[in-house]
């Protein structure tokens, strides 16, 4: 008997897949912490966890695996360290690649991932990550939630999206719009964070993990390479969005197949670039990310 016996319906090859597939989780505060925990319990071994921040006390209401002590330390615990701690508490000898920085600095390791799950608040960040995933043909799962003021209280809403090559992207689905980017840019730096609570994050994260599993270890024949699930946290339902069916009628015009790959790739420089330009490109990504942040301000 092994610890994975109860999920043998995932197939004879499931242990090999769990041992060898690499999954990145970007944004580890809310939904990302649930996803890390669930993937570790499922038995995945290779993780890339990315978050530039350390915890603070306000994260304790939703960050799975965080303790009071993490926030009380003179130097509070990095969120990537909590993710690693959660994984190691479940999974024997995992490979956890931690990036305590912006995801844009981790392009090389992200290119080698089999699935990327983004739990990012920023619309711009979602957009950039979706573009990256389409360029390098990586299935991208995005989750997000928000709380809206209504006439009779509040509405908790959210979404889970699976975007794959040749399927509608976040722009096709109306999650990333020029208007949303503009509004976000205007709000940037204002006091107060977006409302976040643990239970909707858990629902969205579980659905995201379900999508990861049906991609990598399909247990039925009607799997899909694109999904848009809308969450109504007041009615406690998750339903497929009509937007996906509408968007899927036309090829994605934002990320055409001809844009796949690194536009600066040159096979004649392949060995040279691996030895000498890796750190430079890493630094360049940091500079671009920094300038982008300043522009948003």
């Amino acid at each position: 008997m092994t610890w994975l016996d109860r999920q043998s319906f995932l197939g004879e090859e499931s242990n090999t897949v769990l041992e060898t597939r690499k999954i990145a989780i970007i944004g580890l505060c809310g939904g990302g912490s649930h996803i890390v925990q669930q993937l570790a319990h499922i038995g995945f071994r290779n993780f890339v966890v990315i978050d530039p921040q350390r915890v603070d006390e306000t994260n304790l209401n939703r960050l799975v695996g965080m303790t009071r002590e993490d926030a009380k330390r003179k130097k509070p615990t990095p969120k990537v360290d909590i993710a690693e701690r959660v994984i190691r508490s479940v999974r024997h000898e995992p490979f956890v690649h931690k990036v305590m920085d912006l995801w844009q600095t981790a392009g090389d390791i992200l290119k080698s991932c089999d699935v990327i799950v983004g739990c990012l608040d920023s619309v711009r960040a979602k957009d950039e990550l979706d573009a990256f995933c389409h360029r390098f043909m990586i299935p991208y799962i995005d989750i997000g939630m928000d709380v809206h003021k209504t006439a009779d209280g509040y509405l908790i809403a959210g979404q889970v999206v699976l975007s794959s090559p040749d399927t509608p992207c976040l722009r096709c689905l109306g999650i990333v719009t020029e208007d949303a980017l503009k509004k976000e840019g205007q709000k940037y730096g204002q006091a107060g964070g977006q409302p976040q609570v643990v239970w909707p994050n858990g629902v969205l994260a579980s659905s995201a993990v379900g999508l990861v599993m049906q991609l990598l270890l399909p247990w039925h024949s009607t799997t899909t390479d694109s999904a848009y699930l809308e969450y109504d946290g007041n009615k406690h339902v998750m339903v497929p969005s009509n937007r996906l069916a509408i968007a899927a009628r036309h090829p994605c015009k934002h990320y055409p197949p001809n844009e796949r790959g690194d536009p600066s790739f040159d096979v004649r420089q392949l060995k040279i670039s691996r030895k000498t330009t890796g750190p430079q490109s890493n630094m360049l990504a940091k500079i671009i990310a920094f300038v982008s942040c300043r522009l948003c301000h």
Binding site: T20, R21, D108, I109, K111, S112, D114, V115, R135, F136, M137, I138, P139, S164, P165, D166, Q214, L215, L216, P218, T223, T224, D225, P257, N258, E259, R260, G261, D262, P263, F265, D266, V267, R268, L270, S273, R274
Partner: protein
Amino acid sequence: MKARIKLPIKMLAEMRADLHRPHPFAYERVGFITAGACAYSDGALLLARTYHPVDDEDYIPDKTVGVKIGSGAFRKTLQRSYRPPAAILHVHSHGGRGLPNFSGVDVRSAREFVPSLFGAVPRMPHGIIVLSGDSASGLLWFGPDKAEEYAFEFIGVGASYIKFGERP
């Protein structure tokens, strides 16, 4: 260096179906994939963009080989691959199951025509792929004067995400 080839599952199914269509006189069909590329942790990654069957009129009757294609097929492929620069992968199928092997004719003819592709698109790798019903093999050239290397593995992206055709 390890080279991987990533392609949409739908394209894979489309290619298998297309390559199994009978031709008026050729014994088998061939096509071309265009692909982007990027450096990868331990080598290179080729990212399939489009698949183009060779047009019927571009086959040349030749009973000494299973299939022979003319300059028109290569000209059309080079036109598609020039801008943006794309890797060119000649593809055909041997059918059957399991890891397919290239025939001697496959390798000899590839050694003749693949290096010439670098004249038109020097910055990208090029090569040949042979499919089976459930796997594939690839031979890739990373320069006109360099020896070919087997693709390390294929990655199919789509409604299920699969890896196949792994070579040690």
